[in-house]
Point group: C2
Chain length 165, copies 2
């Protein structure tokens, strides 16, 4: 069974290779494929309000997500999350589990909505999954992502309210 729990400092040596492998492909996240370990540690651990990891029964790290306010002050009731699943754990619904967990955490922390700022339009699997989990494409940013293989491609802004209107 997968357990999702807060990141602890001891997790980093196992987490970094998973993040590195994801960002290196240059087709999913804006972080430069050449990002250093220190840069990614800052972005994934220091900057967010909270970082979580998903582990297997044996304690192996399978995935991770971050949660933070998307804007300061008068926009801070909307959170932003980012998810990464290890290549070994793909295809088992873990991204979905992480996103469902993050929505519950966001609600618990008092957020009213969740926003993804830069969903790469060519990342069909992600777009389909976020839609299935209740997110809508609320904006399209023309050529806002520099895809490592495809060049400049559109990115979507996706949004989900976490409160009853």
């Amino acid at each position: 069974m997968t357990v999702i729990r807060p990141f602890q400092a001891k997790d980093w040596p196992a987490l970094w290779p998973i993040l590195k492998a994801t960002f290196e492909t240059g087709d999913t996240y804006a972080y430069s494929p050449q990002s250093t370990e220190a840069q990614i540690r800052h972005a994934w651990i220091d900057v967010p309000q909270a970082t979580y990891v998903a582990t297997s029964d044996g304690g192996e790290i399978l995935g991770t997500y971050v949660l933070k306010p998307n804007q300061p002050g008068l926009g801070s009731h909307v959170c932003n999350c980012g998810y990464v699943v290890s290549s070994a754990a793909r295809g088992r619904g873990l991204a979905s589990e992480l996103c469902i967990h993050s929505q519950a955490e966001a609600g618990r922390l008092g957020y009213r909505a969740m926003q993804f700022n830069l969903v790469v339009s060519t990342n069909d699997v992600a777009v389909r999954l976020w839609k299935k989990l209740g997110f809508e494409i609320v904006g399209t940013l023309p050529h806002a992502f520099h895809h490592s293989m495809l060049g400049y491609v559109d990115a979507y802004v996706m949004y989900k309210s976490l409160v009853v209107a």
Copy 2:
């Protein structure tokens, strides 16, 4: 004649009251109306790639803007700007001058597009001006801004390409 030039440390004592008065209204920017001087100095001077001020003939500060990449790495060809005009200088087209200047600077710095992430939908004057200057509303964020008078209101994502497609 108005001069637009890079911010210098000596400008801060005159700039801070202009920023403070703008953010205090809670109807335009996400920065909390209760933000401290240190917080705003960090956000307006330290974080951006560049900060500019507009001055009168006599050297009085009339307005300011910031310019920075909107995302890291593979999204860093899109910049983000924010503009503030002093209450004394409103109604003379200075916001327009600042935005035109920022588009030229962004082009010079190699950016391919400019994005505003949170244009308050009830700020008609701003929305109309950005449209006039070539920006399009590419997204609507439901209830993403907590307006000091109106409560939760929508915000727009606005975008302008700076290159010929």
